[in-house]
């Protein structure tokens, strides 16, 4: 075998209709029976990094600004930056830039292959979340996008609420890779009454571009 093989920790019980090979990941673009939403999309192939520096205000990873407030997020040039605390920020390359590699400068950790990453999109997303966590995604004091660091289905996660705008509501969620299978099982089960279905990357791309 000449190429490395990357395997997503997320597995759906649905039949892929269209797939694409990208950076040694098998990316599903579309599943059969995706329905009318809400959707659960596997994004584990999207590059993600943790960035740490004692003086974050002076740094601009990927040329984007880092939110000043803890729990604040910013989407710029397709990169979502989430301020975790005084010294750390998580960076998700969610729109394009799938070929992003770890920058050759200190402070970066590539967490793409050590974590799972999914998006929950659709009108009833927060009703599904309400069944799995006590965190208040609809807190009027928080302005989107914003980061939660807390338990989701009892698993420590990072969750970023990108939109709370009716049909285009959506969050992205990441946690340790090992929880992937059980996390998907819990989310699909909680979303069953809302007709939650696995969807391919095309749904996510369309949604993120509409924000």
């Amino acid at each position: 075998m000449k190429d490395i093989q990357r395997v997503s920790p997320v597995v759906f019980k649905a039949t892929p209709l269209k797939t694409e090979k990208r950076n040694n990941w098998e990316v599903v673009m579309e599943y059969s029976g995706e329905g009318e939403g809400p959707y659960l999309v596997d994004l584990s192939h999207k590059p993600r990094f943790d960035f740490q520096d004692a003086d974050l205000a002076a740094r601009k990873p990927f040329g984007i600004r880092i939110p000043e407030i803890y729990g604040g997020s910013a989407l710029e040039n397709g990169v979502l930056a989430n301020r975790m605390n005084r010294t750390q920020v998580s960076l998700y390359c969610i729109d394009g830039q799938d070929n992003t590699v770890i920058p050759d400068e200190p402070g970066f950790t590539d967490v793409t292959e050590s974590t799972m990453f999914v998006a929950l999109i659709g009108k009833e997303v927060f009703s599904i979340c309400e069944k799995l966590t006590a965190l208040d995604f609809l807190d009027p004091q928080r302005k989107t996008p914003f980061l939660f660091q807390g338990p989701f289905s009892h698993v420590p996660c990072q969750m970023v609420t990108l939109s709370r705008d009716g049909d285009s509501s959506g969050i992205v969620l990441t946690c340790s890779r090992g929880y992937g299978r059980d996390m998907i099982h819990a989310v699909i089960n909680a979303g069953e009454e809302f007709n939650l279905k696995p969807a391919g990357e095309n749904r996510f791309t369309k949604w993120i571009k509409s924000l």
Binding site: Y70, M84, R86, Q149, G150, P151
Partner: protein, 91 residues
């Protein structure tokens, strides 16, 4: 009664998200002339205050920060919020 703890990074959260880190006992004793008994007392002996005490908590299910709070052990309610050490150092 449900314990609500104020994390200096994430704000008020359910007490189940946190791990208890013991009483705040002050700085580690100087190792010069430190007797085994004094060290043992520092490590193992607690005041077990019936009232307000300063204690360490870790936001294990969230941001992972270690910080201190004042908690009334008789009512299990937080009394006064302390900033995390890294925030105090920031000043």
């Amino acid at each position: 009664m449900a314990l609500i703890i104020t994390c200096p990074v994430c704000g008020k959260r359910n007490g189940y998200e946190f791990k208890f880190g013991g009483e705040e006992k002050g700085p580690r004793p100087d190792e010069t002339d430190l007797t085994p008994k004094a060290w043992c007392d520092y490590v193992h002996m607690n005041h077990c205050v019936a009232g307000v005490q300063k204690e360490w908590w870790c936001h294990k299910d969230g941001c992972g920060s270690w910080f201190t709070i004042y908690r009334d052990t008789t009512t299990n309610l937080e009394r006064q919020v302390q900033k995390a050490d890294h925030q105090e150092a920031e000043k």
